[in-house]
């Protein structure tokens, strides 16, 4: 199987078949993560730059572990302490990265389209670990992986609610694209200030109240709420947000009996989700973290080994 993409910028570039390949590859790597010695030599001698121009301990750590378990060398290039803080342009950073000649760049940036900008200027693989409000494809793929572990690969007819700050969420955008492509019904739920004005652009049904959105749902993905949204005038105090939109046991009772709860983390307990729910049996939050490593191993493997496979084919 030769992976057809140099870069992973968003899920919209993937076909159903590509998604299956990622899922199958991740499943095979998942097993490594439960071994006593969690390391294979697959990417020995390969180097992966973790370029995080916006802080994200979770995603960065997840990629770091994924790379190391495949024996790749990983190098962090963080915003703080780098020349980025001294006003260097992204283009200059790209030229620097390219000169280091890595096999893959995993990047996180606060500007929508930044991964695309870099990918067009470097010869190695670029994996988008989140760009602005635009896309977070690896999160969407790991969310899908997590759901398939529970539901199997037949997703048509399932209903997933995405709850919270949709407008500013790359996680939401990528999940909507991926889930709707696979036949899942996606419902979005948020106050209007946290939705884009033209919600039809997103291609999912929109609810402004939580209860009807939850009715019969098979899974609820809570999004992380940036607490500054209050200061930006998008929300009253957090207590009020929680009153209207916090996922609680009572509200979740409206959903399907086997409903699953997800959250990309880090959680604001009591704001996005009631604390007891986050730890309850139907919570998949820790499964998401575990899936994250396996899916990212798969993506690093597919992108880094792509060229050699193509050459020998």
């Amino acid at each position: 199987m030769n992976w057809p993409h140099k870069d992973l910028l968003d899920v919209s570039q993937l076909s159903r078949e590509d998604v299956d390949v990622v899922m199958r590859t991740a499943a095979s790597f998942r097993e490594i993560n439960s071994r006593p010695v969690k390391k294979v030599p697959t990417l020995k001698g390969k180097s992966v730059v973790l370029f995080f121009a916006e802080p994200s301990t979770r995603t960065k750590t997840s990629f770091d572990i994924a790379g190391k378990r495949l024996s790749a060398d990983t190098f962090g290039l963080a915003k703080s302490g780098s020349s980025l803080q001294k006003g260097e342009t992204l283009k200059d950073t790209v030229l620097t990265l390219q000169a280091m000649n890595p096999d893959a760049i995993v990047m996180r940036h606060s500007a929508s389209g930044a991964a695309d900008f870099v990918a067009r200027r470097v010869s190695c693989a670029v994996i988008n670990a989140g760009d602005g409000w635009h896309a977070h494809p690896t999160q969407a793929l790991l969310d899908l992986f997590t759901l398939r572990e529970v539901w199997g690969d037949e997703l048509v007819g399932k209903t997933v609610v995405i709850l919270g700050d949709i407008a500013h969420s790359r996680v939401a955008r990528s999940n909507i694209r991926l889930l709707t492509m696979l036949g899942v019904t996606v419902r979005l739920c948020a106050p209007r200030t946290l939705l884009p004005k033209d919600t039809q652009a997103l291609g999912a049904k929109v609810y402004y109240e939580l209860e009807p959105a939850l009715a019969g749902a098979d899974a609820v993905m809570c999004l992380r709420l940036q607490l500054e949204r209050q200061e930006a005038g998008l929300l009253p105090e957090l207590r009020e947000y929680a009153r209207r939109f916090c996922l609680t046991k009572d509200r979740l009772a409206l959903a399907a009996p086997e409903v699953k709860v997800m959250h990309p983390g880090p959680i604001n307990r009591g704001v996005e989700i009631a604390s007891d729910l986050a730890d309850a049996g139907n919570s998949l939050i820790l499964d998401q973290v575990a899936s994250g490593v396996a899916v990212r191993m798969a993506l690093l493997y597919l992108h880094i080994t792509r060229k050699e496979k193509g050459e020998t084919a």
């Binding site: 342009t89 992204l90 283009k91 940036h109 606060s110 500007a111 929508s112 389209g113 930044a114 695309d116 900008f117 760009d131 602005g132 409000w133 635009h134 896309a135 790359r170 955008r173 884009p196 004005k197 033209d198 919600t199 039809q200 652009a201 997103l202």
Partner: protein, 431 residues
């Protein structure tokens, strides 16, 4: 009797049938007469006009030159060169330089640079700052600026949020010179560069809603009517603003308005792929907005065309979309790009002469040429069939930031004359 020293023979003129001969002497129009093949002009330079269109030279009421302060983007010499190549005789340069043009010494510096680099034109007419430092806190010394050579006042780029101060600015300027306002509610997603709509939602970009513009347009209209003081509304980009202006004009409000070629030619679809060249403020809007602007321009609801020429250096656009500077370079391509609309039958050459040459000069009381005896000899010759590709080399502006790069345009300014002086001339193959 004066003998002509400059003649354009056998040329077509928008709005007039047949072929014409333009005779000029000592920088002024002598006469525009039906072409007579037997006429000879022994003392004159005779320019053959066959296949060309004689257009009045244009006035750009909204240009950003970057001198003083940001000469790497553009300086006055290169900006005037682009103006000459684009067929302009007059350009009005905005005050957002570094330092800001809020005192006579900056105005005088600009005028001296223009005179040194282009002594025979195109002519530079500085626009003075409306408030000191464009800070929106205190009025600039408008009489001083006027005396130094400014022809209008504007806070362009930094809309005045304080309505009380803006009121006083209009009152104070009313006896001096027109006020040009950049209409954008500065609290609503300032400078985001993308229209709030389907495209911004898909791309995950902060959007600037059209109502942010319309709110400020409505404010300005109400103040202009209340104070009986004129306001010129800069770079109108959306239907909502057009509707407000049409209404205001029906009531006789003292407002005039401009739009730019890019709002007539493009929509926010150009942002696809995060193309920073299409990032401009106000942002490119929807096709519905574009059509409303076209109609408003034909009907005179929008009075004039202006380029909003905003040159930037390559590295200021070679960034992610959100980090890129706003603006499109426009002087070089204004007429040629609009010609596409003439070819499609959406505008006429007369519309362009009226909206890009005569009306702006009238509004701001600048010299212009209607081809009447005694008018300044300000004209350009346009080849409507000449096709050319917009490349970094073909643009005379230092700013190469246009979504037209790489595109082929049909129609080109072959020669520009300001006050009887040829300031731009391209060799015509076969002529």
């Amino acid at each position: 009797m004066t003998l002509p020293d400059l003649v354009v023979a056998n040329v077509e003129v928008p709005g007039r049938d047949g072929f014409w001969t333009l005779c000029c002497a000592q920088g002024r129009v002598l006469e525009l007469v039906p072409h007579d093949p037997a006429a000879v002009f022994p003392e004159a330079r005779v320019i053959p006009g066959r296949g060309l269109l004689l257009m009045p030279a244009m006035t750009d009421a909204h240009t950003h030159l970057r001198e003083p302060g940001q000469e790497w983007k553009e300086d006055i010499a290169s900006g005037l060169s682009a103006a000459a190549g684009g067929g302009f005789s007059n350009i009005m340069c905005m005050a957002n330089t570094t330092p800001v043009n809020d005192n006579a010494s900056v105005t005088k510096l600009m005028l001296r640079r223009a005179a040194d680099s282009w002594p025979n034109g195109p002519r530079l007419f500085p626009v003075g700052a409306l408030t000191l430092g464009l800070a929106g806190k205190q009025l600039a010394p408008m009489e001083e600026l006027l005396a130094a050579g400014c022809v209008a006042f504007s806070n362009d780029g930094e809309p005045v949020a304080d309505t009380e101060l803006f009121r006083h600015a209009l009152e104070y300027a009313a006896d001096l010179a027109p006020v040009i306002d950049h209409c954008e509610d500065p609290y609503m997603a300032k400078g985001s560069g993308a229209n709030e709509g389907v495209m911004s939602a898909r791309l995950g970009l902060r959007g600037q809603p059209d109502v942010a513009e319309a709110l400020q347009v409505a404010r300005d209209i109400l103040l202009a009517e209340y104070l009986h003081a004129p306001v010129h509304l800069a770079h109108v980009s959306c239907r909502r603003a057009v509707e407000l202006i049409a209404d205001a004009k029906r009531r006789g409000a003292p407002v005039t308005a401009e739009t730019c070629p890019h709002y007539l030619l493009m929509t926010d679809a150009a942002l696809f792929g995060y193309d920073t060249m299409a990032k401009v403020n106000p942002p490119l809007r929807t096709d519905d907005d574009r059509l409303a602007l076209m109609q408003a321009l034909r009907e005179g609801v929008i009075d004039i065309l202006a380029t909003d020429h905003a040159p930037h250096a390559a590295h200021e656009k070679e960034t992610p979309f959100e980090d890129a500077k706003n603006g499109i370079t426009g002087l070089d391509t204004a007429l040629a790009s609009l010609w596409e609309l003439v070819r499609l039958g959406k505008l006429t050459a007369e519309d362009i002469a009226l909206r890009f040459a005569w009306r702006p000069a009238e509004i701001f009381k600048l010299p212009h040429c209607r081809f009447a005896t005694g008018d300044p000899a300000d004209f350009c010759l346009f080849d409507p069939e000449e096709s050319w590709v917009v490349t970094t080399e073909s643009l005379r502006s230092k700013g190469k930031n246009t979504p037209l790069l790489g595109q082929s345009l049909t129609g080109r300014v072959m020669l520009t004359v300001v006050g009887g002086h040829v300031v731009h001339e391209l060799a015509r193959p076969g002529a």
